[in-house]
């Protein structure tokens, strides 16, 4: 029996991989209902300390699991082969979930009616056999890197509950690190998948901008918003990502039609990655990112990159041209777009906003248009300059966060003699990469003797998610990165 009273086979299975859970359900060793009940029991036992969940979908989850079990009992072969058969998952509460109000972390949104149907990516995971158990805590309107949500209470880091989980997809990373679910979904505009993955010690994938349709999710910055998965292994991450790419629906019912309304969606055909995980890193041209990415990293963050580089035999370092300007461009575009998006509510009811980000939203609404227009032009110039670097390098390595998890409530941290605000600055190292839409896998590093994990970004050229997942899988195979369930 472990510390949360889990002694049963399903409770033990829940702490393992999604791949093995699906196999167990497929073989009849476990029922989908067993796994869903184990997930709900673990949430009940642990979430008082973590606060990852803001809603549970207990009744629907048990009904969905029962339907899977009945289909298996009836011998339906199409169900048996589903890749995420019976796997419990949860989503950041900016994804629409049928029957729930989409909160996007905001008190203001509580007044909205429940949604009639699930976001497209939720539908895709359900079609792959996964079972949704609930919605997860986040920074209000995704504008923050700490998930210290004043309306719902802060999300606590499962590895040290006095510390932040990171954000804005803090609940998504914490739920996976705490063993409540094996996989989850989040969003990343400036680092909101990679920052909490780094601080909670799990794997997180931010695909290329435009890869996954965003229909049925609450927006923040349309030209920067990405969606993606979290998991405790690269195999589970790839399995989930591949399912997220797979269209669903029939000739009669086509939920995919909504995807076409997402102006950022690139409408690419699925490019599955699971089969490429075993290819290793041999032959790939890999380099660490120096300059800005070293200057804005603590000693532990730099050591984490060195640890990963050593495991891969990487000795080359390169710098990204225009990176400071690129990061600045992402900040200004986000600040202005977010402020403008919420201008009506900021006028009418500023007091109802999250106190920790309200002033930033108001400032964003005031930015001169010329600054933002200039930022969009500099962004394209920067993207072209980085593309030249990527002509000579397949994969780039950089820290995911400047430091490991800070204390809940902490306002500042020190970096290179500078005193920086935690909430807007924890994304200093992720922001320049999402600004130009590159795919990234955040991999969790536990340095010798460290009490907390810290992540490294594995970055590739647009549309090469296969490469970042390959290198992440190789690092896992080498024992350089891993994502244990928090004790």
């Amino acid at each position: 029996m472990n510390t949360h009273g889990a002694s049963s086979a399903e409770a033990q299975a829940l702490l393992g991989s999604a791949f093995d859970m699906a196999q167990a359900v497929r073989s009849g060793a476990l029922r989908a209902t067993d796994l869903v009940q184990a997930s709900l029991a673990r949430v009940a036992a642990t979430d008082g300390a973590i606060n990852a969940f803001t809603d549970l979908t207990t009744e629907q989850a048990l009904a969905d699991a029962a339907r899977i079990d009945a289909a298996l009992a009836a011998g339906e072969p199409s169900v048996r082969e589903l890749p995420l058969l019976g796997v419990p998952f949860a989503v950041k509460n900016l994804f629409d979930v049928a029957g729930l109000t989409t909160l996007a972390g905001a008190k203001i949104e509580r007044e909205q009616p429940p949604k009639a149907r699930d976001a497209l990516l939720v539908q895709r995971l359900k079609a792959a056999g996964a079972v949704l158990v609930g919605a997860l805590n986040m920074d209000e309107y995704a504008y923050g890197f700490t998930t210290e949500n004043s309306h719902e209470g802060p999300c606590h880091n499962p590895h040290d509950t006095t510390r932040i989980a990171g954000g804005s997809s803090g609940g998504s990373a914490a739920a996976v690190a705490a063993g409540q679910v094996p996989v989850s979904l989040g969003s990343d505009t400036n680092g909101s998948i990679r920052v909490p993955a780094s601080l909670c010690g799990v794997f997180g994938l931010k695909p290329t901008f435009g890869r996954l349709p965003r229909s049925g999710t609450y927006p923040f910055v349309s030209s920067l918003d990405h969606l993606g998965p979290f998991a405790r292994s690269t195999r589970d991450l790839a399995l989930t990502y591949d399912a997220l790419q797979t269209p669903v629906g029939t000739a009669q019912v086509d939920p995919e039609a909504d995807a076409a309304l997402d102006p950022g969606w690139a409408r690419r055909a699925p490019e599955p990655t699971s089969a490429s995980l075993r290819l290793g890193s041999a032959g790939l041209r890999i380099a660490t990112l120096g300059g800005y990415f070293e200057q804005h990293a603590s000693a532990e963050a730099r050591t984490a990159v060195a640890h990963v580089a050593r495991a891969l035999g990487v000795q080359t370092s390169v710098e990204l041209p225009l990176v400071e300007a690129g990061r600045a461009a992402a900040f200004l575009i986000s600040n202005a777009t977010g402020g403008a998006l919420h201008l009506d509510d900021l006028r009418r009811r500023a007091q109802d906003f999250e106190p920790l980000s309200r002033d930033r939203f108001i400032a964003g609404a005031l930015l001169p248009a010329a600054w933002v227009e200039r930022a969009q032009r500099v962004r394209l110039r920067y993207a072209r300059a980085v593309a030249e670097v990527l002509m000579h390098h397949d994969v780039l390595l950089a820290p995911a966060t400047p430091c490991s998890a800070t204390a809940i409530g902490q306002e500042h941290f020190e970096l290179g003699g500078q005193r920086l605000l935690v909430r807007p600055s924890m994304g200093l190292l992720t922001q320049p990469i999402s600004c130009i839409g590159l795919p990234v896998c955040a991999v969790p590093v536990w340095l010798p003797g460290a009490a907390l994990p810290i992540g490294v970004q594995v970055i590739a050229a647009p549309w090469r998610e296969d490469l970042v997942l390959r290198v992440a899988a190789e690092l896992e195979r080498l024992g350089a990165v891993h994502a244990p369930v928090a004790a």
């Binding site: 435009g210 005031l366 969009q376």
Partner: protein, 88 residues
């Protein structure tokens, strides 16, 4: 306009004027925070303005027309590495 050298007073005056134009009241208790973040944005705007762009440096924002028959944007062609099966 380059924001270089903006004083605290100039930023505060800008905040008050632009908030009035937008019809966005700023409560006294929110004002210090707003000015702090506006100053941060102004510093970052300096980094953006430090890049020399010409009239031919286009925006990263691209509009795609919407036709009545196909209300969705046109598909983006797959790159060569995908067509040749290089994704293995």
């Amino acid at each position: 306009m380059s924001p270089t050298g903006l004083s605290t007073e100039a930023l505060a005056a800008y905040a008050d004027a632009s908030a009035a134009v937008l019809g966005l009241p700023i409560a006294p208790e929110h004002r210090p925070g707003v000015l702090q973040y506006l100053a941060l944005a102004a510093r970052l705007a300096e980094a953006v303005h430090a890049v020399d762009v010409s009239a031919h440096d286009e925006s990263a924002m691209v509009f795609r027309p919407v036709s009545p028959e196909h209300p969705a944007p046109e598909a983006v062609a797959a790159p060569l590495w995908h067509q040749s099966g290089a994704n293995t």
